[in-house]
Every structure is written in C-alpha cells, then in structure tokens.
Symmetry: C2
Subunit: 349 residues, 2 copies
C-alpha cells in the first residue's frame, strides 16, 4: 500500500475540496503583489537587501495569528520539490528559479501562500476550490492588513501599490478562476467566447499560466490590469463574466446531452475505461481523458466517479507529482507507466 499512502500524503485540497459551482469552476485565486518601501524591487536588490526583506516579511508573517503558516526556503528544496509546488500552483516558476533569499510560507491546507522575493517582495495568494472570489478577496485583504501593521508597503497616493511590473501597479491584485469548459471547447464556441472575454479586459490562459497550451479544456481567466480600478470592480467584473461563461457551458452541456447522447456516453465511458486500464499514458492524453470523465461525472453519467478526484488528478498526473509520489526520478517512458499506475490507484481509493 506504499503508493496509496504516498498519494494520500499528496492530495491537493484546493482542488479536491468542495466549492460553489465546482462542476465548472475548479478553483478561485486572489493574489496581491506588495513591496517594502525601504528596498529596491527584487530584480534590482542585492543579497543583503533581499535578506532584510525576507527577515522583515517572515517576522510579520510569524507574528500574525490569523492563519498558521510554515516557511519553506527555496534554496533548500530539491528541484523536483520545487516543480511540485509549481504544479500545485503554490509558487510561481519565477520563484522556483535559482536566486537568493527566496522562500514561501504555506498553511497546511495550502490555501494561503506568501511568496518572498519573487518578482515583488511579497506575493500573497489565497486559493480555494470552486467559485469563491469574494471569500478569497476578504481573506487576502484581511491578511494583507495584518501584515501591513508590521511592514511599510511601497504605496503612492496617486498610483496605489507600486510593483515591479507595471501591469500590477494600483491594487496589486490579480484575481483568477480556473474553468473546466469541455463542451464549449468541443463545439468550438470557445473562440468566440474568449474573444469577448479579452475585450472585457480579462486574460485567458491554459492551466499552467501564460503560453501554456489549453490542456484538459481548463482555462484560467484573470484581470489584465489593476490600475484605475478598485479591487471590488476588478472582482465584480471577473465574477460577472465567469457567471456568463458558466451559464453558456451548462447550456452547451445540456444540448450536447440531448443531441449527441450516445456519442457522449460512449466517449466518456471509454475514457474512463482507458484511464482504468492503460499500461502507460502521457500527461496530454491523461488530461484529455480526465476532462471527459469529469464531464461524465458532472452530467451524472458516471455515478461511480467523484468529479473532484478527476480535477485533482489533473494535477497529480503532472511529471513532478508522478515522480514525487513514486519517490524517485523517472524517465519519460517510466513516467508514463507510473502515471497510469498512479491514476488507477487513485481511482480505487
């Protein structure tokens, strides 16, 4: 039962937990960028300054008691573990790159993450299952207020919070939702919808950020700019667009179920069979099949499947997770075999 235990130790709360509208919204994320006024931004700061930033932030984090956080020093972490944190969306690829005085505070449920010396001195992230931007915003805002008591933020009355990259200046807020849109993707309505979304000042990306392809029919939608808008406006805008997308995806699912019931049942059921029996499987294929099976679960066509397990597997099957869970580095062929084993073990749990 080694593998089962290892999987159990690596479950991903922010995607496997329940949340509002979680048939379509896998997760909601609020991220705040903050910098300390006394020090240059990390891309300009020297080792000493970065160290002071790290210490000041750590002190502020440890002296608050809204949430219990533990610190991970990125320099101490093997590459595989850093990759795992990226795949879990708990740190950014930038933070994982070699560099000085980088670290992250996490809570046990991995809902809260505070990155230090990333692009900005501080990045506060709140990540939850389902559609709950408001709750996340409230929590981020409160946490930010608590930190601010002990930290002197870089803030201009005219511009708002100052950040390393101009797109974050203002509120320093990035709000995003991760949406599973299999039927809008299938019926090619996605392009039209995404064009409309772009016009509303929102950005659309694949599951692993900018440039990542849209694997598993997962789309991340987030605000593009923060300057000139209040936090509430930004979140309201993202929420109302997301609600419309949810509505469209649901309608498209209903139509498909009525018009192509046999084909749909067949595709979904075969996808499940392949996940249960493949001897080896690539991440691309696994994502595609997990997407189908999750849809089947959402539509009540596969009663034996919990859709949240499918959402979670979309992360557990990524290369670093497969290696971490199996406890060793693996080449591509081995990974494909162990990925299949991981999926099959998780499905039985």
């Amino acid at each position: 039962m080694g593998l089962e235990d290892s999987i159990a130790r690596n479950l991903i709360h922010w995607v496997s937990g329940k949340g509002p509208e979680d048939d379509i919204v896998l997760s909601s994320r609020i991220r705040l960028a903050r910098n300390l006024s006394k020090y240059s931004f990390p891309n300009k700061a020297g080792k000493e300054d970065k160290k002071k930033v790290r210490k000041a932030v750590a002190e502020a984090v440890l002296s608050q008691n809204t949430v219990k956080l533990h610190y991970i020093n990125l320099a101490d972490l093997p590459e595989l573990e850093r990759e795992v944190l990226i795949e879990k969306h708990l740190i950014s690829p930038l933070l994982a790159q070699k560099g000085m005085e980088k670290g992250v505070f996490l809570d046990d449920n991995e809902k809260v993450s505070v990155m230090i010396n990333e692009e900005d001195h501080i990045r506060i992230q709140i990540l939850s299952p389902g559609f709950q931007l408001d709750e996340n915003w409230k929590m981020a805002d409160e946490f930010d207020d608590v930190l601010e008591k002990n930290l002197d933020y870089s803030f201009s009355e005219k511009w708002g919070y100052l950040t390393s990259c101009p797109t974050n200046v203002g509120t320093g807020l990035r709000a995003s939702v991760m949406l599973h849109l299999p039927v809008l993707s299938l019926t090619n309505n996605i392009k039209k919808m995404l064009e409309a979304v772009s016009k509303l000042g929102l950005a659309v990306r694949g599951i692993y950020g900018e440039g990542s392809e849209v694997a598993g029919n997962i789309y991340q939608i987030s605000n593009q700019v923060t300057l000139g808008h209040s936090e509430i406006d930004i979140i309201d805008n993202l929420e109302s667009v997301t609600e419309k997308i949810i509505e469209q995806e649901r309608k498209a699912r209903e139509s498909l179920l009525q018009e192509k019931s046999i084909e749909l049942r067949d595709t979904i059921s075969r996808s499940y069979g392949t996940l249960k029996y493949a001897y080896r499987i690539s991440s691309e294929e696994a994502l595609r099949l997990l997407s189908n099976v999750k849809l089947g679960s959402d539509l009540g066509l596969l009663k034996q499947v919990d859709r949240r397990v499918m959402s979670e597997l979309m992360i557990l099957i990524r290369p670093a997770h497969v290696q971490k869970i199996h406890g060793q580095e693996l080449n591509t062929i081995e990974r494909d075999i162990k990925r299949a084993e991981l999926i099959q073990t998780r499905l039985k749990m």
Copy 2:
C-alpha cells in the same frame, strides 16, 4: 438478471470448452459430404425426392444410439434463429436459404450436426474446441458407418463418394481448423505463411468462410481437394501444417513480448478497458479488441481473463446472437449499444 440468464442459455460449447493447444487453435472441424444413390443431388431433386431423402436420413439418424440428436426443421425457424445457427457454424449459409425439406440434427452440446438437403443430401459435421482433428475424424467416421447401415450412399469404386460439387468427390471430407494468429498478423508474417499454406493444397479463409474478411485475426485452414487422397493423408497434412503455424505464432509471440513488452501490455490492457467500458461497439472493433485481450490472456498478461470467454465472445457478439440474446430485433445503433452491454455482462459472469 435477464441478460445474464439469456447469455448463459446461449453459451457456445465448441469454442468455450477446453481443448489441446486452445491458445491458438479455437476449434477443429471434420465434415463429411454424403448423398443417397437413389435420388438426384439436392440442386436437381424435386420436392418429393427431397422429402424422401429427409425421411430416410431422419430415420437412420433416429435409429442410431451413438449420439442423441434433435431435429430442427429449417422452414419452421425464424430468420434470426437461422442466422444464429450460421454464426455458430452449425449450419451453412446455403442450408439457411429458403428451400424445401431442409433441416439439421444437433446434439445438446452442438458438437455434432447433420444437415439434410444442403448442397449434398447429408453433411455430417463434428466440431470441437482446440486441436483435435483425429478425435473428430474418428467420431465422424464411426457415425458415418452407423448411418451407412441404413442408407445406400452414392459411391463409385473409381471415384469414391460422389458429391454435388466436384471438389468434394472422393472422401467427401473437409477437415479444418480455426486459428487465432494475432502476432503473425501484426508482424505481417502472415502473408508469407499463407502463401506457403496454399501451395500445400490447403485453403485459408476468414472466420465466416469464403470471402469473409479476416476479422479478429482468426484464420480457417482446410483441405482444398479430397480426390486421390485418403482421409488419413488429408488430416495428417492439415495437422502437420497447423503444428508448424502454431510453432511460428508461439515464437512470434515470445519475440514480441520481449521486444515490445510495454507497447504490447498497453495495447492489450487498453483493449480490455474499452471492452469493459464502451457504451457502443461495432463487431469489427469488438473482434479486434477481443483478439488483443485473448492474446493478453494467452501470454499471462491479463490474469483475470479466461481466453475461452474471449473466443466465445467472438461469436456471441455477431449481429444475430446480439439480437437473440437480447430477445428482440435491433437496428445497427441499438445493436452496437446492446453488443457493448452483452460483452460487459459476459465479462462479469
């Protein structure tokens, strides 16, 4: 449990039973063509003569006590039931066609079949699982002797048994084996082998006789001519060629397992997953997947699967069987759905 019961009532003994070399040889068949001297061959005979033939043969069959047989009058049989008997290889397509005084005697295990007024007045068939041509020949020969006591066969000292078609004149014997050759097919060695087989006076056909395509990698090999050879020679020749083919297929399987182990395991395991989970499936795809899964079972890669169930399913999934087992006529789409259900139910039994 209606479907399970219905499947249980339709199991096919001659393919699901155990037999020598049944990893490769699905079945062995001996067929003898005989005619009564007093009457014209069926293609020339009138209704009265055919009736007399039917009565004489029936009397001879019923007065023997080597094997207990029951009579089926083809004219009384709905088309679907006739199709089922063809799919089971118990009657020929010719016998199933509309015509007078046609019938067949069968035993409960469907090992023995005696067709009346087919191309010849009498066709005796012995059908067994695995490689047992000698045993079948012995049984056919004895049964033929018993019938001959009460029937006056059309026989010439010079030519041997006289038959409707010249290819059967002589012994009236057709011996055949049905072989599952997935790896020789996969590696394209099959063509070379089949050419060699043809040169040795043997014919190769697909699972459903002349002109049928080679579905499920099943090949029927039989003697072409009977004139000028003794029964023993004909059977010996077929046996020794079959032994060589078995050897080649086994060698090819070993090599494949060594050289392409991962691909092989993956293909086999996915085939099993698809059979277990498809919502609809065509006969062509089902045959292909059953062939893969049977190979997996033969090689010990799928311990949970009985290869004989796979061989049997190759017949149970044919259109008439699907309809008979489900107790109703079905269109193509319905059949594909019910075929998948049938396979999944059988796999659970």
